[in-house]
Symmetry: C2
Subunit: 233 residues, 2 copies
């Protein structure tokens, strides 16, 4: 069954796909009246619906039933420095959306080479990955935020900072308690500065290693995301 | 220290970088005589060397000392159907090389949309990822191989086939015994056929799931690779 994203789904029985999704349904997929489709609202609910009006700009549908997405994954938030090459950040977002994540914040750090991002593209990447992996929940993607703001904002769960400086670091897989919410900070190509690591530590972040391999920024992000998912599987 | 790939390093004290690496060292990085460089042979050894002749086409160096790469990862071989979009296969190779893998075989399956691959590009991707992650071991990248050939070839370790058909499947993370070699088969966008799954089962492959999320081919490959690495960490 074909999947459509409809963030503003409401309680009315008869509704319409937006113009882009209508065109896709009717012109590309050539769906007809009475064909069944699946809708997701990005907030965790699937809707089974029947096409009532195969209009290529305003395709009408009627909801048949809804189903809440099941997930055992506790809240996972990854705050990551955008990579110099935008594609790598998009790839990180695609893979984490497939694997499982709730919130992503691009962060501004002292060694960040990139200070801006096209948020709209990141959201598009996440929507497409959500549909591809048949999920109903779209991760929240925040605007680029200075590291300090993330570090001093309270978070109800374990807080980690992954960095490559020498020193006493725990392994994420052994420190993370299954079932707990987690916020993980991932640094830029040039790593977090010593000052940034100290600031995070002062605010309750635990320095961690993701393993013995030296990973690129986006790989570290995916590895952190998959570690938390795997432990909760 | 700058890292160079020198697959044909030998026992002579005085040697030369190849033309491309010489140009990179002398013209791009502007290294000079007596500068120290790090070489890897792709077979698990690091060499510390000193530049003896800063020639832009045939840069001479003298080996100072060598060090064998440490790794606790048992032999890991992933056989994966090439994705329709080549970039996704290259991403898979880059990420697995960073995370840790010994052998990669692109496989021909009944539902494969792509039947050929530029092996040379895949090897280049792996070399660059090896250097980037400061590893000394280059994964072996095999030519495209029919699934059947992989399935009937003896393998000394656990053999898994990841597929999305219904049925009795174990979770890779719970079935895999730490320390064992592993061969994991990852199917194409359209999954392995029922016939292919049966053939693999007959030859001792255990059907597995990688978790509840529905993953793209290349994501499934990375998730399998990271699962084995994480368990052995």
């Amino acid at each position: 069954m074909h999947l459509f994203y409809q963030p503003n789904i409401n309680k009315d029985t008869f509704q319409f796909l937006d113009e882009i999704e209508s065109k896709h349904a009717i012109r590309v997929l050539r769906l007809k009246e009475n064909d069944l489709i699946l809708l997701v609202d990005g907030k965790g609910t699937f809707y089974e619906a029947k096409i009532t009006n195969a209009h290529p700009k305003k395709c009408g549908f009627e909801i048949q039933q809804k189903r809440i997405e099941e997930s055992k994954l506790p809240y996972l938030h990854i705050a990551i420095a955008p990579t110099k090459n935008n594609e790598r950040t998009e790839w990180f977002i695609e893979k984490c959306t497939e694997i499982g994540i709730h919130e992503i914040t691009p962060i501004l750090t002292q060694h960040s080479e990139r200070k801006n991002l096209k948020e709209e593209r990141l959201v598009k990447t996440a929507v497409s990955a959500m549909k591809q992996s048949l999920k109903a929940t779209l991760p929240q993607i925040n605007p680029v935020t200075p590291l300090k703001n993330i570090v001093i904002t309270p978070f109800d769960g374990k807080k980690y900072i992954a960095h490559c400086h020498e020193g006493n670091k725990k392994l994420l897989k052994t420190d993370y308690p299954i079932g707990e919410n987690a916020l993980v900070l991932i640094g830029p190509e040039g790593d977090f500065s010593g000052e940034e690591v100290e600031l995070a530590k002062k605010n309750g972040f635990i320095p961690i290693s993701l393993g013995k391999s030296r990973l690129r920024t986006e790989t570290a992000g995916i590895v952190a995301c998959h570690t938390i998912n795997l432990l909760n599987e």
